[in-house]
């Protein structure tokens, strides 16, 4: 994803600030909402959660290294803060969830699936809603021309689509994985943790570099949910 972001920024001749924003998004770990998308797409949920967890754990090393490699800019990441946040948001809920599941011992299996699905869809929608509401004003604050915005949006769409396609076919052809695993890998690679990218962009770079991260946060959610629905429908039809 960072290499793709680098190539696309170069091809679209993006300004250095916007290119840095694209690189940041590409270097960030998989987004947490990707797990719900994988669940709806009937992909390998365990693989998706594991990928989110491990990629977030190594993010404090990978993001600065990748940013230095592609942009020659050093990013200092609050390693402890990120690890604590990952433990709170990913690790702890998984442990509590698995313990509760063990206590229930397979009782009311269908009920759990029904409520878990509904609750996660509701909260994912609320998260995306509040992210858009909080960041929408920034498009007007950082004056960016309409043509620049269109080119950037096009670059983000291509970057995201290539992420889905390349990861899916790499997993399928090169690693010969099962369909569920291919879906999980594709969604995990395509849907990046744009929230983390926007925090880093504001902290370390020109504030304009936050624009790609804000656009990605909305676009990845919309495209990821569309892809999840397409795979879900295909499964029902087949």
């Amino acid at each position: 994803m960072p290499l793709l972001a680098f190539l696309i920024s170069w091809l679209f001749n993006l300004s250095s600030d916007l290119a840095i924003g694209m690189l940041l998004v590409g270097s960030c770990p998989g987004g947490t909402v990707s797990n719900v998308m994988t669940y709806i797409a009937r992909g390998d949920l365990a693989l998706s959660i594991s990928m989110t967890f491990i990629s977030t754990m190594i993010a404090p090393v990978m993001i600065p290294s990748l940013m230095y490699l592609y942009a020659h800019q050093w990013v200092r990441i609050d390693t402890f803060g990120l690890l604590v946040s990952t433990a709170k948001v990913v690790l702890l809920p998984i442990i509590v969830g698995l313990i509760i599941k063990k206590i229930l011992k397979g009782k009311s299996h269908t009920h759990i699936h029904n409520y878990a699905s509904l609750i996660s869809i509701l909260f994912v929608s609320l998260i995306i809603h509040t992210m858009v509401a909080v960041n929408f004003q920034k498009f007007f604050d950082y004056k960016i021309s309409q043509s620049q915005l269109i080119v950037l949006f096009l670059a983000i769409i291509i970057h995201n689509a290539l992420g889905y396609i390349l990861s899916y076919y790499t997993a399928k052809k090169l690693f010969k994985n099962k369909l569920e695993q291919n879906k999980a890998i594709s969604i995990e690679v395509g849907v990046q943790n744009s929230g983390l990218a926007s925090i880093l962009a504001i902290q370390f770079f020109n504030p304009i570099s936050v624009i790609p991260a804000i656009l990605c946060a909305s676009w990845h959610s919309i495209s990821g949910s569309a892809l999840a629905n397409v795979w879900n429908k295909k499964l029902i039809h087949s």
């Binding site: 949920l45 693989l47 969830g97 599941k101 878990a116 909260f123 995306i128 809603h129 999840a228």
Partner: protein, 79 residues
């Protein structure tokens, strides 16, 4: 069951609708922003409820092996 199926079927529309509503920048929308981390934790918790420990362990072992292999290769190339 019907509700679950409907929400899953129209997941894309629900997400897009909520995202578009965000553009209206209501005070309520901004006021729930500090709770994003908690909401994400609830999402992961709900997903964990649908998982089996065995499958999660298997997936974790495979990915850890891939990452360790990747970093071991880089280390070997450097030294």
């Amino acid at each position: 069951m019907l509700m679950k199926n409907l929400c899953e079927k129209y997941f894309f529309l629900i997400v897009s609708f909520f995202a578009l509503l965000g553009c209206l920048q209501w005070n309520f929308s901004k006021s729930i922003f500090p709770f994003v981390e908690i909401m994400l934790a609830i999402v992961i918790f709900s997903m964990a409820l649908t998982l089996e420990l065995k499958t999660l362990k298997k997936a974790l072992v495979i990915i850890t092996a891939y990452f360790l292999g990747f970093f071991a290769n880089i280390f070997l190339c450097l030294y």
